[in-house]
Structures are given as C-alpha cells and as structure tokens.
C-alpha cells in the first residue's frame, strides 16, 4: 500500500546526480541550464511565505472579527460565508449538501459559482495555502516533523496520494446514500474555522490528532494524501492561469524546490524532465515555497496564456 515517498525519491536522485567539481562547488545534473548554483544576492528567502501567512491569518481573523466585533465583513465560517453580503460556499460541502438533501438552493449555487470564479482568478488550490487554517498549523507541524527527522527521532512514511480522490468520491457517495453530510462531521477545516469564529469545540481533538500523526509519522499527510476539500480547488486550479513558471536558463537542478513542496511531483515535468515551462498540475497550491527557496530565481509566479498578451 505504501509507496516510496515521491519526494524522498527525487531527493535521492538529486544526491545521486551530485558531483563535486574541481573547485569544490556542488553541481547537479538535470534539464536546467545552469552549471552551478548562482544565488541572486537580492533574493528574499521568505518573501512569499510571509505575504501568504499574513493573508491567511488576515482572513481567519476577519472571520473572527466579523462576528466578535460585529464588523460584518466576512460572516460565517469556511464552509459557507458572506463577504460583504456576497455568498461564498465551499464547493465540496456544497456538493455534499446537494447530494444529501437533494435541494438546489439558489444561494448555494450562487455561492459555489462565486467561489469557482474567484479561485479561477486566484489559482485554484490557492485556497489551501493562502486561506485554509489547517494548512498553517500543518506548516508549523511540518517544521517539527523535519526537525525530528533530522535528529533521526522519526522516520518518513507515505501513502498513495490517490486516496484524496478516493475520499472525494467516497464522501460524495456517502452523502448521497446516507442523507448526511458525513464528511462535514469530521471536516477539520470547517472545525477549525468554526472554532475560530464561535469558540473552540471538542472537534479540535481530532484536528490535534491529525497534526500529531503528521508530526510523528508522515509529513503533511492530511493535505498530501487525504483531504478531499482541496480536491475541488485542485479541479478549479486546472483552469487557473496563475501558475508557477520554471525558467530553464536559471535552474541549477538542485531540486530544493521539491524538498519544500507539499506536492513535489507537480514540479517533475519541469525540473526533472524539462518538458514543461509551467507547473500545470492543479495540485500545486501556489504557495510560493519553491519560489522562495530557489535563489537561482528559476521559479516565479506567472499567468499562463496571459503573460504573453499582457
């Protein structure tokens, strides 16, 4: 059942391709055209992460403040809300509700379509890394996990990432046959969001359990292999022009981008095979961690199809 973790494989590959040349500088093999790492001195290591965390915390605080201080800007929680009166609905929750209740409510459709349009513009799984509070907690957990791994206290384990699609289908089928929004009962994203807005609930125990599992057993397991919420945004992301662009000329093949990525396989066609200029997979959360780490500046956010026109 368990597969070798994609990332570990690429890391090993990177190590295998490592040569130390005569001057003692590490070089790597791959489709990138740079012979060695040439850091841009102006490169900011945590630029996108800082901007992203600020925005993520801003929106979650905005949810809280809209209720707590009654400023009414972003009312509701991440499963469904109104931004200045416009309905927004999480697509996966919406489909479950439609399947389980067999009611097609206008506001529900409007909210889902609005979210669809917003995330086509913003880049699909941007929801995951720029909005989802679980992602933020998991990023902190990931740091602990990597620290423990370095100390050889924990080992890495991985699962098949197809589980996410399986879960997506499974919970939709469950909604249809049971008449309950089964996943919404255990949805850690909405559980955290509700706890932020309406005060902590015992469901947070489940969230903590997930985090502990990620820290001690399998890095970023929930987002990587299981969470079906991100799958809807991933599908939207297939249509979103905002993507990470790989610049062959600058790439020194170091593969550090894949080391930091939640979904390292999405970079494969570019940094391993050199066949794609853009990271086309919807699974890319547009988190910018790869851009931050790449001081060769071979990666950047760009608008596919549109950058040529603009």
């Amino acid at each position: 059942m368990k597969k070798r973790q994609q990332q570990d494989r690429t890391v090993n590959a990177a190590v295998k391709n490592t040569n130390e040349n005569r001057s003692g500088v590490k070089t790597f093999k791959g489709p990138g055209l740079r012979k060695e790492n040439i850091p841009n001195p102006k490169h900011k290591r945590n630029k996108w992460r800082n901007i992203r965390w600020a925005i993520l915390l801003f929106f979650n605080v905005l949810f809280f403040a809209s209720f707590y201080f009654d400023i009414q800007v972003l009312e509701g929680s991440l499963s469904a809300s109104r931004l200045l009166g416009f309905h927004l609905i999480d697509p996966f929750a919406a489909i479950q509700v439609i399947l389980s209740s067999r009611i097609l409510m206008v506001n529900l459709v409007i909210g889902t379509v609005t979210v669809f349009i917003i995330y086509i513009v913003l880049g699909g799984r941007t929801f995951c890394s720029w909005v989802c509070p679980y992602h933020w907690l998991a990023e902190l957990g990931e740091k602990i996990n990597l620290f423990l791994k370095k100390r050889k206290i924990v080992r890495s384990h991985s699962f098949d990432r197809k589980f996410r699609y399986l879960f997506y289908a499974l919970f939709l089928i469950l909604a249809l046959i049971t008449g309950f929004t089964v996943f919404e009962t255990i949805n850690p994203v909405s559980a955290i969001s509700r706890s932020i807005v309406y005060g902590p609930s015992l469901l947070l125990i489940w969230v903590v359990a997930l985090l502990v599992f990620e820290i001690l057993y399998s890095r970023r397991a929930w987002c990587r292999y299981f969470c079906p919420v991100g799958v809807s945004y991933q599908l939207i992301g297939l249509l979103a022009p905002l993507r990470v662009k790989w610049n062959k000329e600058n790439c020194s093949n170091c593969k550090r981008c894949q080391n930091v990525c939640l979904v390292p396989h999405v970079l494969k066609d570019s940094v391993n095979k050199g066949t794609k200029e853009y990271v086309d997979s919807g699974a890319c959360t547009r988190c910018g961690l790869c851009i931050d780490i790449c001081d060769d500046e071979a990666l950047e956010f760009s608008l596919k199809y549109l950058d040529k026109i603009i």
């Binding site: 469904a80 067999r102 506001n107 929004t181 909405s190 509700r194 309406y198 609930s201």
Partner: protein, 294 residues
C-alpha cells in the same frame, strides 16, 4: 433539539445544513448555538436552548435570510407562521397560574431568598420593569416615591437593578402584596410570548385536576367574599386586570383562593419559540417546548 425558525424537518435539516453558523451570527438576541461533538452528525448545526433564551422571532427573520442552504426555509417570511415546536405545560404541579399564585410576588420571594443565600442570578432589571408595567396610577406614585424616580420609563427602572438591597426587596414584596395585580395568577408565558396578534395561551378556569397544594381553610366570610369576586370576574371576563375587585386587605391570602386558579391551555397558534420556557418563573420551567408533530 429546538432549531431556529423555518428549519426543515429534522432529517432534511441534517442533510442540508452546511454547519456554517451564519444563522447564529445574525441572531440579535444571540440565542442560537452550534451543537457539539456529542451530537454525532448534528455537530456544528444550530439549536436553541429555550430555557437559556428563546427565539423572539425578530422582525425579518434574519437567521432564515442568512441561511445559504435553505435548511431554514426561505418560504417562511413571518414569525407567526413558524413551526419550531409546541409549548406544553410540562409541570402543572408547579405552574403558578394553576396554583393561583402571582408571579411578581413569587419572584420577589425568590429574589429575597437568593439574596439571603447570596445566590441567584435572576434579572432584577426584568423583574423591576415587569412590576412597573403593572402598577396603576396610585401604586405608580408610591413606587416612584420610594425609589425617587421621576418616571417609570424602562431605562430609569432598570437603572435600579443591581443596587437593590435586601430591605428594598422586602419593601417591594410588601408593596406588591398590596397592589391590584397581586391577586392575579401568573400569566408570564402569555405576556412574554412574541406572538401578539393571536392568543397563543388561553387561561381557562377548570376544576382542579391535581392534588391541591393548599387546602381551603377559609371561613364562611371568606367564602361569600369569594363568591362575590367570582361573579365580578365573570363580568370582567378574561384578560389583564381581571384581578380587579379583590380587596387589598385580603390580597396576601388570595393565593389560597381557588378562584384565582387558571389552567394555561396552549393554542395551535403557538410556534414553539421557547420564550415562555425562558421566562417561566418557576425553578424548573413549568411550560416547556416539545417537538411539534405534524
């Protein structure tokens, strides 16, 4: 669980509620809560605990309008058409109306006991404004004199709350015993019911169905006196102020008078909002909301 107004029938409600809590956010009196983990599939769904706070069916039903999924059915546009549950007299034995006990006096007595024990969190503000509301002109004057108030506007009356000493409450209790309303049994559930255009609870004179809490000990004089009142009450019919005609001299004994005993009968116009359960002054609500069976 008592759901906010307009909620679909429980199974369909559970199927459609997206657990967003927007109904909770917009509720002016903040009576909606989200269910905890113990409720299984209902975790995160909204409910109301009437004893802690009933739904006042506020104008425009903002909760219904806020609900994105139609779990709170947008077909409902007026509070009086809601069908949240149904009030029933769950504990007739303790109901003050059935026992012919005046609610103000009962509440003041309790307040006094609470004060003595240093416990209790009854809202003094509400108690005071309920008293103020029921005073006639003469009583109104002595009430104002006692607390040196110029008027009995809600703000001035509720301003007194929290500052009442034990003696003030003792005074209020003695004062209440002399008022005209003192002889009238409790009608709080009807008074506070947000459905105003229909009478949701009728107070019906009935032969007692329960073991009496008090036995008649009245002498013949009292008996005649009561008969007189009985007729008087017939003439006046039901409604506010039908305690008129009871001599103040005897007011403190009126709770022994079975003529004050009325049975609250909940009518089908009750929507089950739970305000009556919230406001019922007995230690355990005598009137409670039960699920409405169609």
């Amino acid at each position: 669980m008592l759901r906010p107004p307009g909620a679909l029938e429980e199974d369909r409600f559970l199927a459609s509620c997206i657990k967003c809590g927007q109904c909770l956010q917009v509720c002016p009196p903040q009576v909606v809560e989200l269910a905890g983990i113990g409720k299984g599939f209902a975790v995160g769904t909204p409910f109301i605990t009437p004893r802690q706070g009933g739904c006042i069916l506020c104008a425009g039903l903002p909760c219904v309008l806020a609900c994105p999924t139609g779990s709170l059915d947008h077909a409902l546009s007026e509070g009086k058409d809601a069908k949240m549950g149904l009030a029933v007299i769950k504990h007739p034995g303790s109901c003050l109306a059935i026992n012919g006990i005046n609610d103000i006096i009962f509440r003041l007595e309790n307040r006094l006991a609470d004060k003595a024990n240093g416990t209790g969190n009854q809202s003094e503000a509400e108690l005071l404004s309920d008293i103020a509301e029921r005073l006639n002109n003469a009583e109104n004057a002595s009430f104002r004199e006692k607390f040196s108030l110029t008027d009995l506007e809600p703000e001035s009356v509720s301003g007194l709350a929290g500052n009442l000493s034990r003696r003030d409450i003792e005074w209020l209790l003695n004062f209440a015993r002399t008022t005209e309303f003192s002889s009238m049994g409790c009608r709080i559930c009807l008074d506070k019911c947000p459905i105003k255009d229909q009478k949701t609870i009728e107070f019906v004179k009935r032969e007692p169905l329960l073991n009496r809490r008090h036995e008649k000990q009245d002498d013949d004089d009292d008996h005649e006196y009561k008969q007189g009142n009985h007729n008087e009450k017939r003439r006046h019919g039901h409604g506010r102020g039908h305690g008129r005609g009871y001599g103040r001299r005897r007011a403190h004994r009126m709770s022994l008078n079975h003529d004050n005993e009325y049975w609250p009968v909940v009518q089908s116009s009750c929507v089950g909002c739970g305000v009556c359960e919230e406001k019922c002054p007995t230690p355990v609500a005598s009137i409670q909301i039960v699920p409405r069976l169609e």
